[in-house]
Amino acid sequence: MELVVFYVAAAVAVVSALVAVSHRSPVVNVLSLVVTFFCVAVNYALLGASFLAAAQILVYAGAIMVLFLFVVMLLNAPSEQPTPEPRPVQRVAGLALAAITGAGALFLLLAVRVTPGVAPIDGNAVALGRLLVGPYLFAFELISVLLLAALVGALVLVKRKH
């Protein structure tokens, strides 16, 4: 049962991710990205990481994708026209990067023994909270300062124009 759900979700995630990068219409791209996020969230939930699944939908599918949609609509981006050939350097560099990343992923898949990690079904959020304000408190606070800096920076950039 769970295996079936996993394979369906994974397949849909891969397909919609492909659509997200290949389709012409920007709105469809964004929407298929939402589908990808949902499928990934389903897989998180299957692994017992329900907090992560909820956060995935809450943050990515809910907030960030809406922002994307907002931008796409505001700019009213036309469907992508076939662009002139990219520079050969870009093409070579892109291929090389893809090869390296692919090789790394393959290496990880082959070399690392994946044990199905079973998170505690209960108290998922509690455990995560304890970790965040316990051992990882410094990193957690640092990230919030980073986000705050980004927020203030955005405000300053907007203010300067007026």
Binding site: V28, V34, A55, I57, L58, L69, N124
Partner: protein
């Protein structure tokens, strides 16, 4: 996974889905008749099935029939796929969030007649909780799914090829994103007090202690305001402000697609009423009623106890939940027909400058008080 579990879950799913959709249809009638009564009119009473008019209830059937046989109009330059997808996306979060609402306590079909000494939530061979899905992070699940509702509105506006729609969906997107923050933050106080994210445990806490509205009065007001903004109803109905942008993001919808938006909005009221009841009004909790019967302790009469069979306790608690939901729906309807629409800058100011800081303050004060009490 036992057969009983599968059958019970399927039965709960069907029952709740049928219930929700019937509730949405009924809400059309409630809204029209109630607004009429408030404005000294009598509302729609014309539709009749033979000699029966049923105070205008037949209008539900008439409206449904009309919606079904109406032309499904799609603008020529609209994106056909997205245009069809948007109403589904708009109605999806409403139907899904219902799954985690705890409608009642555990019901044990094996011991309906006997007195239940195990407490409201227990496990047993023939026992099932009156909740479709018990999610570990229930509250986050609700917020996450509710947050995707904006996608439907945005897609509807973008796919309609209509400027009013686009304006409406822009308004909807910015309004929903703004108030979503408060929606979550106003509940953090509740989470702190109840000490859990599971909705059924929240109700349990209120069952054992006191209702959420007593310990989180400010949270209740903030959540109510944010929730009404999330459901895009007056005084926050700018995304569909008729006098300015016709009907906002669903201008270009007709027939059943329009009905999906309309029913979705009305069912959202029902969902919000459920969540208000669960977070702030004790869910299925009836004062003085425990799982085994009524416990009364009055200062003059002393402690009294009447044992009650399991079935009657569950029935009472289910009825109490229904009553609370009806009352909260009534409250939302009354607010909708009382307040005028806000201006857009007022909306944003209320959201970012008033409600959000207040909810942050609520979280801080709650945390400090809880720490001091511990």
């Amino acid at each position: 996974m036992t057969t009983f579990f599968v059958v019970a879950t399927a039965a709960k799913l069907v029952l709740f889905l049928v219930g929700i959709i019937t509730c949405g249809a009924l809400m059309v009638w409630v809204e029209r008749r109630m607004s009429a009564m408030i404005q000294d009119r009598i509302g729609p009473v014309r539709a009749n099935a033979g000699p029966f008019r049923l105070w205008g209830l037949v209008h539900i059937a008439a409206d449904g029939l009309k919606m079904m046989i109406k032309e499904d109009f799609i603008p020529r330059r609209a994106d056909k796929l997205l245009h069809a997808l948007a109403p589904m996306l708009a109605i999806f979060p409403v139907l899904v969030t219902f799954a985690v609402v705890p409608f009642g306590p555990t019901i044990d079909f094996g011991h309906l007649g006997s007195v239940n000494h195990l407490g409201p939530l227990f496990e047993g061979r023939w026992a099932t909780t009156l909740q479709v899905a018990q999610v570990d992070v229930g509250l986050l699940f609700v917020l996450a799914i509710a947050g995707t509702g904006v996608v439907g509105a945005v897609i509807a506006g973008a796919a309609s090829d209509n400027r009013y729609s686009l304006l409406g969906s822009l308004r909807a997107a910015s309004q929903l994103v703004s108030y979503e923050v408060t929606l979550g933050l106003s509940l953090v106080g509740c989470v702190l007090v109840f000490g859990t994210l599971r909705l059924e445990d929240m109700v349990l806490w209120q069952h054992h202690h006191t209702w959420g509205v007593v310990v989180q009065p400010l949270g209740f007001v903030l959540f109510l305001a944010a929730a009404i903004a999330e459901s895009k109803r007056t005084p926050f109905d700018l995304p569909e402000g008729e006098s300015e942008i016709v009907a906002g993001y669903f201008v270009e919808y007709s027939g059943m697609k329009f009905a999906a938006f309309y029913l979705g909005e009305l069912m959202e009221i029902g969902v919000l009423a459920c969540f208000l009841a669960v977070f702030f009004f004790g869910g299925w909790d009836v004062p003085f009623l425990r799982a085994d019967g009524i416990h009364l302790s009055l200062p003059m009469l002393g402690a009294k106890f009447w044992a009650m069979p399991h079935w009657s306790v569950v029935l009472l608690q289910l009825g109490a939940f229904g009553l609370k939901v009806c009352g909260l729906i009534f409250l939302q309807m009354a607010i909708r027909w009382t307040l005028p629409r806000m201006r857009y800058d007022q909306l944003m100011e209320l959201g970012w400058k008033a409600i959000l800081p207040l909810s942050l303050a609520n979280v801080a004060v709650t945390a400090v008080v809880l720490h001091a009490l511990r």
